[in-house]
């Protein structure tokens, strides 16, 4: 199954987003990572790399991020992960994108691209009408 990683400045936010996403996409493998190594608000590349490795089962990984350093540190983590399988960043609102991705990852013919595109569809989410 395509793995999903949720990266936020806050570990609690990342875990909360994972919980909401897996409530819909129950079977999806979603790793939550956030905050710095010493528990502050922020991000750091090593924990993101570990989360990517944990989410990877040979079918690729889609990474969702919140903002700023999360984007840049996720890029660095992907560059340094050196996995055989494909790891991509989705350009999407992290909460809605994670939910879309978790649902898409459960489809029988899911691929890294289909999951990434589902996540990026969240850019168009309208909450009223």
């Amino acid at each position: 199954m395509v793995g999903i990683v949720v990266v936020s400045h806050s570990r609690k936010a990342a875990e909360g987003i994972r919980d909401v996403a897996t409530e819909m996409g129950g079977d999806a493998r979603v790793e939550a990572v956030g905050g710095t190594g010493d528990g502050r608000i922020g991000t750091s590349p090593e924990p993101i790399s570990r989360a990517i490795a944990d989410a990877a089962d040979g079918n690729g990984v889609v990474v969702l991020v919140d903002l700023g350093s999360a984007v840049m540190n996720a890029e660095i983590a992907i560059e340094e992960a050196e996995l055989e399988e494909e790891v991509v960043l989705a350009d999407a609102p992290v909460m809605e994108g994670a939910l879309n991705a978790a649902v898409a990852a459960g489809a029988p013919d899911a691929t890294v691209d289909s999951v990434r595109m589902a996540a990026e569809d969240a850019q168009r989410v309208k909450k009223f009408g």
């Binding site: 710095t36 190594g37 991000t43 590349p45 700023g68 350093s69 840049m72 540190n73 890029e75």
Partner: protein, 244 residues
Amino acid sequence: MDGATQAEAVREAIRACTERIEEERSYLTDLDSAIGDADHGANMTRGFTAAADRIDGLESEEPAELVKAVGMALLSEVGGASGPLYGGSIVAASGELEEGITAETTVAFAEAYLEKLQERGKASVGDKTMVDALVPAVHTYKKSIEVDGRDPLEALGKAVDAAERGVAFTVPIRASRGRASYLGWRSVGHQDPGATSTLILLETLLSVATDHLDGEVEVDAEAEGKPAEEGDDEGDAGAVEVED
């Protein structure tokens, strides 16, 4: 300067940058409180303290290796956007110093640093970021050496002046990258913290380079009967590499 002397200059530059960042911690935090998330002073202090510790534990006499270790420490320890920006760019550019520290290698380092910074941060001049201080500094350093034929110490002085003007330029403009961009027009009138820390590091490198080169030039001039240009380059560069 031989490898060991260059390495010592690099170590001294890192220690000096760490001390200066610590001194400026609340100033950077105040700037970042106005238009950001108020963590720049703490993050930079944490990063540079980790960098200084790593350098102390590293027995290398290779400037490139020491500089790379600084970048790796910043990458892991900063936590905010300055981690990937400063750290990632230093790591990416450190390879330019493998042949040692000279006018040429420091220009190459500065250019590689700037290229990586812009690739990662996707900011341009005028976005109210560290790029506003760095672009004029790097261009001035390169031009001063390659076109105007200045020695590296003079070139670094010009680069610091250019960075200072870049920092002033961030005050009246509206942020369009980074945290401050969330404030829109309310970011106008505030000085950018990242541009400021860039200037602070460049000033520190200039001061370390000046200390090194003043002594060195005299000694070499006496020994060889002419101004010691090579010594100049190296000491200066020792600073420059870490600068970024």
